[in-house]
């Protein structure tokens, strides 16, 4: 079926934000935070809980399970109360009110990520696309954001890409 025609919501100002890095966020990994994350996923591997077991496997300390890239340092003065990261986030703002999480893609460089590490990250808008949602009868704006994580030794440890899908309230 051919896409229904609709007016693009993407402006030149929005396109100009592609590739522009936002402010830095500092995230910490501690033995307690690694255990909490691993427990919440349901891991039973002792490497995530027991430092001796982790070191016997060649890790500096408890390793970060896939998906865990530290916890942003919380400060009520400038952290988001619900998501913990920097309030507002800066950069790109969709014109549409409703948002869905479209997907997550994390690539690791192979550097160990362990308890005791501090990761500094910054996010840039990577792409903007639009498509018509036949199911909802509204246009959807698909934004991909790319975040690069660097450890305390200046080494890039991971690149994460998140897809956000925003759209107008159907019927509006």
């Amino acid at each position: 079926m051919a896409d229904q025609e609709f007016e693009s919501a993407i402006t030149d100002e929005m396109r100009a934000l592609i590739g522009v890095k936002g402010p830095e966020t500092v995230s910490e990994l501690t033995t307690t935070s690694v255990r909490m994350f691993a427990r919440s996923v349901g891991y039973v591997d002792p490497a995530f809980y027991d430092e001796d077991a982790a070191q016997a496997r060649g890790f500096r300390s408890l390793p970060a399970p896939p998906g865990y890239l530290g916890t942003p340092i919380f400060n009520p003065a400038d952290s988001d109360p619900t998501f913990g990261g920097r309030r507002g986030g800066g950069g790109f703002r969709s014109p549409y009110p409703l948002v869905l999480n479209g997907g997550t893609d994390i690539e690791y460089t192979g550097e160990q990520i362990c308890a005791g590490d501090t990761l500094t990250s910054s996010t840039a808008l990577a792409s903007l696309n639009e498509r018509w949602s036949g199911a909802l009868g509204v246009p959807m704006l698909i934004q991909v954001s790319e975040t690069t994580y660097t450890n305390q030794n200046g080494k890039v440890v991971a690149i994460s890409r998140g897809t956000g899908i925003s759209y107008p309230r159907p019927g509006d």
Partner: protein
């Protein structure tokens, strides 16, 4: 109950088309609260039924990032103690509910599966690519994706 640390699998033992051992999850409201604390995502649609319903959802839903982390565990277990997870990618194609109250967690079973699509050597690293997916109790796939792991060689 799966072994805490699965036996090591080697690059030579893997063929394109192989299915890897499945991982079964049954997310409950308790697990979503644990995930909220573990990940730092305290969005109320994941643990407060009234709040979720006010946003148009039928009930609380599993965090997308938790489904990504489940797929990460699937690959972590496949890679084994000497392997490495290189990439975990997935799309959230649908919402998944969590078991609450006296409801059986088994009804909200969420199975993680993977199939090897490619294997190759890059420098000294043995790389295996996989199609991975999160599957609901009714067999529908809500969370398709791709993974990459590095496996040790029998040398």
């Amino acid at each position: 109950m799966s072994d805490a640390v699965p036996d090591q699998i080697y690059f030579e033992d893997i063929d394109v088309g192989d299915s890897i051992p499945e991982l079964e999850k049954s997310p409950t409201s308790q697990q979503l609260v644990q995930w909220a604390a573990g990940s730092g995502d305290f969005y109320q649609i994941h643990y407060d039924t009234s709040y979720a319903q006010d946003t148009g959802l039928d009930d609380i839903i599993v965090h997308g990032a938790l489904k990504h982390a489940f797929l990460g565990e699937l690959l972590w277990r496949f890679a084994g103690p000497e392997g490495q997870v290189k990439r975990v990618q997935c799309s959230y194609r649908g919402m998944d509910p969590a078991a609450q109250g006296r409801e059986s967690a088994q009804e909200k079973k969420f199975t993680l599966r993977g199939t090897v699509t490619r294997k190759y050597t890059e420098g000294e690293r043995n790389i295996v690519e996989l199609d991975i997916e999160g599957v609901r109790a009714d067999g529908s796939v809500s969370t398709p994706g791709q993974g990459v792991v590095v496996l040790p060689s029998r040398g």
